[in-house]
Assembly symmetry: C2
Homo-oligomer: 560 residues x 2
């Protein structure tokens, strides 16, 4: 089956496909996720087909992924579901269309327990919406100082068609009470027992009743994506969808909706999706109660842009002066419109205006929910005296992107200028050109380079590491192979159970058994690495503080 | 009558006055505008009482004014009407409550011609709203490169109670048609023949029908301010009030409302209140049709902050280390909430969080329409190694202020960090302290200093001026007194009519008669300066280009 046919199959049922003509030609190597990826084989998610090209950001499990920028933007305005970012906090719940119910209660006159068959009988709408994780571009923040979140690149945004029933229709159906009667919030959550923390182990949050009842907001109980029933990773059989908000409010596997006087009291409502002021670190946040201060909740996305071309580690020859097309995406929140994308090749002294490609029409209330693509043609000659490409966008409220990062403890909402460094480069034959370097891509580039923020970070870390190593050498004499605290790989690989769970990190052996119950990410994510070298998975998700904690579980060194 | 009694009188009728307890104590020297200011004596506005302390930004007439920051913030959350910014494009129309009518037509089923007595019978609401000119802080932009607008300082924002009828109620009363029937915009305008440009000489603009019909937006036909009927400068008898939008959309002396398919075609709708990209100057804008590109319209305010203390030219002694309270205002648009105000004393490396004083409660839909005040106590010792105080704010959509200005041809929406320079200072007795310097205050400070952006600008201008003067000297030999082209003041003062209108600028005499009809600001604003020295008034409102045009009207030099 050709690419176009696959695309057509995936988006089947989505209306207003005319725009696809513009993009299908570029879909290149995409394909549907049609098999189980070997990376999932020994995880609880080993029943879910996933695309082999997604970038897994937290090891094999749970799945948190984005797609490489060139693949993502190459797919065009509508992202194939199999390439859409995924943010899972644990194993994907196995829910059944026939038995799943949504309980609607609280401050309503007619509490409802609704089956999926009942839900889909309500009038539905289908709209394209860009869904973005609030942690998009967090890796750049982590390279300045580790936040408590894992590394997202600039690809944790995607745009698909979503089909669902308006939340306001469901609330009206249940006889929602008025603000005068004390109804001010709509709380909602996924399945109970899904996650390690909070009273019932559910992931829950809330929006204001005013936002929920406002038809201009297009808040949906969504059950189809690109014309097909949801996949398990995207919330099968139903999820909340809130255009213009951060992805974190769009709870998947939606199970309960409760109208209340106060906002959600769910653990994750308070301990996730907040931007605290830059001086607040994890300890201070806890000590001074910052998680519970109402002003720091984040809902609407802010104005954002990033460039996919030049790609990280792309090389452009300087032999002849040629046109070069810089391109990328931009979006904003709250239904606002992206009105300007600008590129500077002189450190911000002057800005060239990019051409915006807008694929959606505003909703009847004038709101915009989707990313735009942009491009700007320069000449390769323009790069000769330019050390950096700067990209920034503006929205219809005249909000722009800041020139520099403001770090925050959750590493969220980073929307500083997207800066690509330009380096002189010669290839093996001595041809002169320029090499481009993104700030913090998830993967090494074709030439083996990391991002420039990562390089800067590593230089800083190297100094710290030397200090730490010296201290370690002084503290303990090296153990020769064969001595009591040196283990072979074979020995380590026997400890894979809840009774005894060992793992390796940077050539050292740790016994994580006693920490299984206390691990913030759940015991399962330690167990799946039991008996294995967990260096890469560990480093991708843990803070400096967590790394320091390792020493309490250190039992010896790996032989060799 | 004491100050409190005057305040009480001015705000009489405004509900929910409890917050005033916090602020009345500070109102200081305020008083109602209770007489005709001599500056207005020979202008068409010589019937309107105005406060003597307002800062007139475009000479005597028409009135465009803001209040000094200390007076404005000293007045507290609710600004006295007499200190509220005013933006007039020409003479204030003399309207009569008894005869004034609002015509409501276009795509409505029942066109209405409504008298004021009829209007005030509709249900009304009273809400506090911060009204801000989109040109607030424009003087900072003009100091980088002259925009086509006059110099506003940071005081072109004010907050009062407004009472009026919801626009959506009036539209419903007139049987407004639906978007399906082609209704998409609500156009509205002031009196015809008021202004020099456009088809009918009215000031008009439009908002989307969706925005107009959304009750959460609180758009009002406002007829009272702080509990009293509107004053002529604020739109008597009725004006449009759109919370969270720039002041430019809040048309005064409201005369006509028309529901339409397309946005307003009024001259000022297209040629005012736009932010064009930084590379577009006045010539390019005209040449390439930028005024008519829909994306560059501005409606919602962006996030803004400024500091009133330390004041410009304030001096702080360094004798003893003492607490010092930095304070100011902040606001944002679109109903968003100001959530953080931060101050840096180390060039942005770290930020201290100011305390926010919020006086309003959100409307039932969670929207905020008012400024907040903020303060942060530091120690005078903190200033010893600090060259600049930086202030920035963030709103609930995580939009912050940019570190640097992005110039635009209308000089609008400047919201870069508010930067106060700190200079070592000794007084006459040799006591050491620090002097503070605002970027671009409207008045010289107590010590005679201008703003730091102005100083930088003048350094640049000085170079240009020297070049120009040299050219002038080369072009024309100096004229001795008594020669044909040297005029006495007495002679000049005779030319004050439409038949012969001379004026003086920087010691040179100009004959403006032939330009009376073509003057973009109207012939009247030349005539009121006929026979006078117009240097100050001319410079405050004209662009570099306009100054260059002067040479075409030069007729000689002033004697002495």
């Amino acid at each position: 089956m050709g690419v176009s046919a696959l695309v057509a199959e995936e988006v089947q049922g989505a209306p207003a496909q005319a725009h696809l003509d513009k993009t299908t030609a570029d879909w290149g190597l995409h394909r549907l996720a049609d098999g189980i990826d070997q990376k999932d084989a020994d995880t609880p998610d080993n029943w879910i087909p996933r695309h082999p090209k997604i970038l897994r950001l937290t090891g094999r499990h749970p799945l948190n992924c984005e797609s490489p920028l060139d693949l993502l933007l190459g797919a065009g305005f509508v992202t194939p579901v199999s390439l859409h970012l995924v943010r899972n906090h644990g194993a994907v719940p196995k829910l059944d269309w026939k038995t799943h119910r949504i309980e609607v209660g609280g401050l309503v006159n007619n509490p409802v327990s609704m089956s999926m068959d009942e839900l889909v009988k309500f009038p539905s709408i289908t709209i394209p919406v860009t869904v973005t994780c609030a942690g998009n571009r967090r890796k750049e923040e982590n390279m300045i100082k580790k936040s408590i979140g894992f590394n997202w690149g600039p690809g944790s945004t995607s745009c698909t068609y979503w089909t669902g029933v308006r939340l306001c229709d469901i609330l009206k159906h249940a006889g929602v009470k008025s603000p005068d009667q004390g109804a001010h919030f709509v709380c909602y959550r996924g399945p109970k027992g899904e996650l390690p923390k909070g009273e019932d182990g559910s992931y829950g949050t809330s929006v204001t009743l005013a936002a929920a009842m406002d038809p201009s907001n297009d808040i949906l109980l969504a059950y189809k994506q690109n014309g097909r029933w949801l996949t398990p990773d995207h919330g099968f059989p139903v999820r909340m969808l809130i255009p213009g908000y951060i992805g974190g409010r769009m709870v998947k596997w939606l199970s309960e909706i409760t109208v209340t006087k106060e906002e959600s009291n769910n653990f994750y409502h308070y301990h996730d999706n907040r931007v605290l002021p830059p001086h607040v670190d994890a300890e201070l946040a806890k000590e001074e109660g910052w998680w519970f201060k109402p002003d720091y909740i984040i809902n609407e996305l802010n104005i954002q842009s990033a460039a996919a071309r030049p790609a990280h580690d792309e090389v452009v020859s300087l032999k002849h002066n040629k046109p070069y097309k810089i391109k990328g995406y931009s979006f904003t929140g709250g239904g606002r419109k992206v009105i300007r994308v600008e590129v500077s090749l002189d450190d911000g002294s002057s800005w060239r205006q990019a051409t915006i490609h807008r694929f959606e029409k505003p909703n009847p209330y004038g709101k915009y929910w989707c990313w735009v693509f942009w491009d700007l043609t320069v000449e390769t000659f323009d790069f000769t005296r330019c050390k950096e490409i700067l990209v920034r966008a503006w929205d219809s409220s005249q909000n722009g992107q800041p020139a520099v990062i403001t770090w925050n403890v959750m590493g969220m909402m980073n929307n500083c200028y997207f800066r690509i460094k330009i380096h002189p480069h010669t290839d093996a034959s001595g041809n002169i050109g320029f090499r481009f370097q993104h700030p913090a891509p998830i993967e090494l580039g074709k030439l083996g380079n990391m991002g420039w923020r990562e390089e800067e970070h590593l230089r800083d870390e190297a100094i710290k590491t030397v200090t730490t190593e010296v201290a370690a050498v002084q503290a303990a004499a090296p153990k020769p192979p064969g001595s009591k605290n040196v283990y072979t790989m074979e020995e380590v690989s026997k400890h894979t159970t809840e009774e005894s769970c060992w793992f390796i990190h940077n050539g050292k052996v740790y016994d994580g058994t006693s920490f299984l119950d206390d691990h913030p990410g759940g015991g399962d994510s330690i167990l799946i690495n039991g008996g294995l070298d967990a260096t890469e998975e560990f480093d991708s998700i843990h803070s400096t503080k967590a790394k320091e904690m390792l020493k309490d579980y250190y039992i010896g060194d790996l032989q060799g």
